[in-house]
């Protein structure tokens, strides 16, 4: 019960942080079950509309702002993600899933344009420039990977001319997010990873996490008075495996502990002294920031507020009885909030800051809030010809959930929408209330499917449909063709119960690996030659008959008998004559 309250309070806290000052950053740590730790980094910078239009940037990065101006982008959401959020053991997603993306890269933006063509050309400008800025293959988001969602995304900002804006959405599920994307991400921050919480962000640790997502969100926020600011929010959410992160970098191979140091389950019988069923989970593991991230925080970022709510830049969400030591040489302030479940620290400037938590036997724990929906998506069937998609959505809550399900499939995966079936475990009613479907066109457009569905309380919804796999031209396969192709995750937006703020509640499934039939890449010449031979045989045979005249074999001198027999007979005779000639000469 305690924890439930604390989470609600925390969201309120974040909301109030976002409203007040021009630059704010915050790191929230929350230990999760199975020795995992959620680290949520959040950075927010504001710029007023007037200074944005005059190209007068203070906290807002100039490089990104100029791209937005050039491409007519009014609201931008960019995500780089890796791994899978384990909702069964980790509970609800950070930010209700509103700051995470599907595996790989996901981008959606509201562009200001007169018509669809102009919007698409601006979208290409945007993806190409962002590709350069973030060292990601965003330029591969072409027409086949772009959709125009109709229900799944709502603008978060205040737009006076929403009817002129075009929403475009693109995904790159195959993109491997790595250090080269983190470096430009950090460059956008005012303290550029040199001070403040961003000094913890290190590619080695971030991309070694069980799950991580980096996001950039730009939106206009208008006060009631009509004064508008452009707000950029950068977040990094990651779930670290504490044991894995603590391993030293020069010796990363896990080794078993000596048996004397393992606590064994004494309730079981053993047949030898060297066997042991280890006891798990009795004590919370010890960790410190410098162990987990490889380095301590290099003091506060001087641009953050020195007092007030925003000065508390590092927070840890633990039960009140957990011991937390702050190790630093400079002055710091600890404050306890939300019934002591949230401890926040104001960082010293210019001095290293580290938090360490010793291993501790806990008597109380924080309860995790369960998510509103669980979603999983699979490919059924075998072989490289066809298959079917099965999505299982479970509603554990005691109220019906209304949600929108979005799929964006590559064109070479051809769904048969007449086979789409949605079944709810304990009711015969069709859960689909609205459908939007735009079929794929070969090499020009991907499939876009949006379903609005209603899932009753504590029931399971199963959605299936068949699809066929296309065979591509051999130049269209990537170098690792037999690995398969990635299909983007499905995006689920909860309509009711939704969220209090405008961010919305989102759930994403994992991406899918789709093996396609492959031709033999080594033999284009052989195929051209063999097929042409068969065609030439047919053509030659028929036209040979058509254009030549048939006469009796004895009427043509020297032709001998017809057919293969005649040819062979002629050859034999020639050979015999040749041999005879040779004999005569010798």
């Amino acid at each position: 019960m305690l924890s439930f309250r604390s989470l609600i309070f925390f969201h309120a806290l974040v909301a109030c942080v976002l409203g007040s000052s021009d630059y704010a950053e915050r790191l929230l740590l929350r230990p999760l079950p199975q020795s995992a730790l959620l680290a949520s980094f959040n950075f927010r910078s504001n710029e007023s509309f007037t200074s944005f239009e005059q190209q007068n940037f203070r906290y807002f990065p100039r490089s990104l702002a100029q791209i937005l101006q050039h491409a007519g982008t009014k609201e931008l959401h960019l995500r780089f993600s890796l791994g899978r959020w384990d909702a069964e053991s980790w509970g609800e997603r950070p930010h209700n899933g509103a700051r995470e993306g599907g595996t790989g890269v996901e981008l959606w933006a509201w562009l200001d344009a007169e018509n669809e063509q102009e919007a698409f050309s601006r979208w290409l400008t945007l993806t190409n420039t962002l590709s350069g800025l973030f060292c990601a293959s965003l330029n591969f988001i072409d027409a086949t990977k772009t959709i125009r969602p109709v229900m799944s995304f709502q603008p978060e900002g205040d737009h006076p001319n929403l009817s002129q804006l075009h929403l475009l959405h693109g995904t790159l599920p195959h993109e491997v997010v790595c250090t080269e994307n983190l470096t430009p991400f950090l460059k956008l921050l005012p303290c550029k990873g040199k001070a403040g919480i961003s000094s913890l962000l290190d590619g080695h640790k971030l991309f070694d996490a069980s799950w991580q997502t980096m996001s950039i969100d730009v939106r206009p926020v208008c006060e009631a008075s009509g004064e508008c600011i452009l707000e950029m929010e950068q977040t990094v959410d990651m779930v670290l495996d504490i044991d894995r992160s603590k391993r030293p970098r020069d010796n990363p191979i896990p080794r078993p502990l000596p048996i004397e140091e393992i606590e064994c389950d004494t309730s079981k019988g053993y047949n030898a002294a060297d066997t042991c069923y280890p006891l798990h989970g009795s004590a919370e593991p010890d960790f410190s920031l410098s162990q987990l991230f490889g380095r301590p925080i290099k003091g506060a970022c001087p641009l953050t507020d020195s007092d007030g709510e925003n000065a508390n830049t590092v927070c840890i969400n633990t039960p009140p009885e957990r011991t937390v030591h702050a190790n630093t040489t400079g002055p710091y302030v600890e404050s306890r909030l939300v019934a002591d479940t949230l401890r926040c620290y104001k960082l010293p400037t210019g001095a290293d800051f580290d938090l360490s938590l010793p291993s501790q036997q806990m008597t109380t724990g924080l309860m995790l809030q369960p998510p509103s929906l669980f979603a999983a998506r699979h490919i059924n069937g075998h072989g490289q010809e066809r298959g079917s998609i099965q999505t299982t959505i479970r509603n554990p809550t005691s109220s019906a959930v209304d949600f929108i399900y979005l799929e964006s499939l590559p064109w070479f995966m051809k769904p048969y929408i007449h086979t789409l079936r949605a079944r709810v475990s304990n009711s015969l009613e069709n859960p689909i209330t609205e459908t939007f479907y735009k079929p794929a066109v070969d090499r020009h457009r991907g499939t876009h499917l949006e379903l609005r569905m209603l899932i009753p309380a504590s029931s399971t919804l199963t959605l299936t449909y068949d699809f066929e796999k296309a065979i591509l031209r051999y130049t269209e396969y990537p170098p690792d063709a037999n690995r398969g192709f990635d299909a983007a995750p499905a995006v689920i937006r909860l309509v009711s119960p939704g969220s209090a703020d405008r961010k919305g509640v989102y759930i994403r499934t994992t991406s899918l690996l789709l093996p396609l039939p492959t031709p033999d890449f080594s033999m284009p010449y052989n195929v051209i030659i063999l097929t042409s031979t068969v065609m030439a045989l047919g053509f030659g045979n028929i036209f040979n008959l058509l254009v030549r005249r048939i006469v009796g074999a004895d009427e043509v001198p020297g032709a001998g008998t017809g057919g293969i027999r005649g040819v062979i007979k002629g050859k034999v005779e020639r050979l015999r004559a040749l041999l005879g000639g040779v004999k005569k000469n010798t």
């Binding site: 010809e385 929408i417 007449h418 031209r473 195929v527 058509l546 009796g552």
Partner: protein, 422 residues
């Protein structure tokens, strides 16, 4: 009459076989509909169902990459109950299609145009199978049965091609032109059958009518009729779908081959492996190649127009972009009309062995490539080469036999002697 009873028995047995297969093995139609040898992207029943679903839900079926079949099939099938729940009406329709096609085949056989056209009397004209035997060869051909059970829309094309041939060999101009324009509307390439069938129709009319028939007026009126009928069908389709975009999705797909799903033909693997810069050039060459047989055969075999049309269906079964076993079944059934040529064929054992070899190994090699993973695409490709080679040997050999048969009439002294070509 005994022959009527036999015919009723034959047709009843053929219908019974189909309906029993439909009802006794309810999963068989979908299994066959998924086989690449039976269903191509332009004839598949599953794709038809998808197009129908989109059509009934007010999404244009042609604004997508799945449905490439003619628009007029949509209202026809939307009248039938949904085949995934009530398949009986659809099964009955496809059974009826096959029976009608067999009836057309009977009419062709009874017209004797295969052995004794106007300008030519074969010296072996007594060597022929009865029309019922020919119809039985069509109805009980496993390839025809498989096509029917798979509910491939090439059954419609085959029916209209056979009807056009039957009506042309009876001299019924209007139905001939209308059936051929329907076949061309559904599959595009049957338009190439028009010149030989026009000659056939003309020959029959000359024989039948007491007065002389002006060849120019005859051909102009028929060409106009074809243009009007085909134009009317295309215009109706445009009215039905609300735009002309179906042209690109149906005929454009046949011309440009964007969908490279494997089939028994020669095109798919060739254009999978083709270098990008040469794709358009070879598409042009391949289409020109298909079209090039029509004038040559029509001119050389002016005396036997039905034989030209039958040979062209054989060429379609090998050299068109999306052939299936339905095309082969049509050709193999039509070849039986020319029983008198069989003694003159030289490679009949080779050709039949090749076709049998390919039809047994084809599914096995496809399985090895797609499901077992122990073979690659070349396995299935090699089998399609063998299949095409076997069919083209039958085509070439029957052509040789037809020419030899003509020679026997022109120069009876050469009968049974060795001949050669100069």
């Amino acid at each position: 009459m005994a022959s009527d009873q036999q015919k009723a028995l034959l047709f009843g047995a053929a219908a019974a076989v189909r309906l029993i297969l439909f009802t006794a093995f309810p999963s068989l139609p979908n299994l066959l509909a998924g086989r690449v040898e039976v269903s191509t992207p332009v004839t598949s029943f599953k794709r038809l169902q998808e197009g129908l679903f989109l059509y009934t839900h007010n999404v244009s079926p042609y604004d997508g990459g799945v449905y490439h079949q003619a628009p007029l099939l949509l209202p026809l099938f939307s009248l039938l109950p949904d085949p995934s729940y009530y398949p009986f009406a659809t099964n009955l329709l496809y059974t009826a299609l096959d029976l009608l096609a067999a009836q057309a085949l009977v009419q062709i056989a009874e017209s004797s145009q295969a052995v004794t056209p106007r300008l030519f009397k074969s010296s072996r004209k007594d060597l022929r199978w009865s029309s019922l035997a020919i119809a039985a060869g069509f109805l009980f051909n496993p390839l025809t049965v498989a096509t029917c059970i798979a509910r491939s829309t090439s059954a419609f094309t085959n029916l209209f091609i056979l009807t056009a041939m039957a009506k042309a060999s009876q001299g019924a101009s209007i139905t001939f032109v209308f059936a051929l324009s329907l076949a061309s509307y559904l599959a595009m390439h049957p338009i190439l059958l028009f010149p030989p069938l026009l000659l056939l129709c003309y020959d029959v009319r000359v024989v039948k009518s007491k007065s002389t028939v002006d060849p120019l007026a005859f051909s102009v009126s028929h060409v106009l009729g074809l243009v009007v009928a085909a134009g009317g069908l295309l215009y109706m389709s445009a009215l039905l779908t609300g735009s002309w975009e179906y042209l690109a999705a149906t005929y454009g797909v046949r011309l440009l081959l964007p969908d490279l799903t494997p089939n028994v033909g020669l095109w798919w693997y060739y254009f999978t492996e083709m270098f990008d810069s040469f794709r358009e050039f070879f598409l042009g060459v391949f289409w020109l190649h298909v079209a090039s047989y029509m004038p040559g055969l029509t001119i050389r075999l002016r005396k036997q127009p039905l034989f030209v049309a039958v040979t062209l269906t054989g060429i379609f079964a090998v050299f068109t972009p999306y052939p299936s076993i339905a095309d082969a079944s049509l050709y193999l059934s039509l070849v039986t009309l020319f029983r008198h040529l069989f003694p003159l064929m030289r490679y009949s054992f080779l050709a039949s062995a090749t076709i049998l070899y390919a039809s047994f190994l084809g599914p096995a090699f496809y399985y090895l490539w797609i499901y077992a993973g122990s073979g690659n695409a070349n396995f299935f490709y090699a089998i399609t080469l063998v299949w095409s080679l076997g069919l083209s040997v039958v085509v070439g050999d029957s052509l040789y036999a037809a020419l030899r048969d003509e020679l026997d009439v022109e120069r009876p002294e050469l009968r049974g002697k060795e001949v050669t070509r100069i």
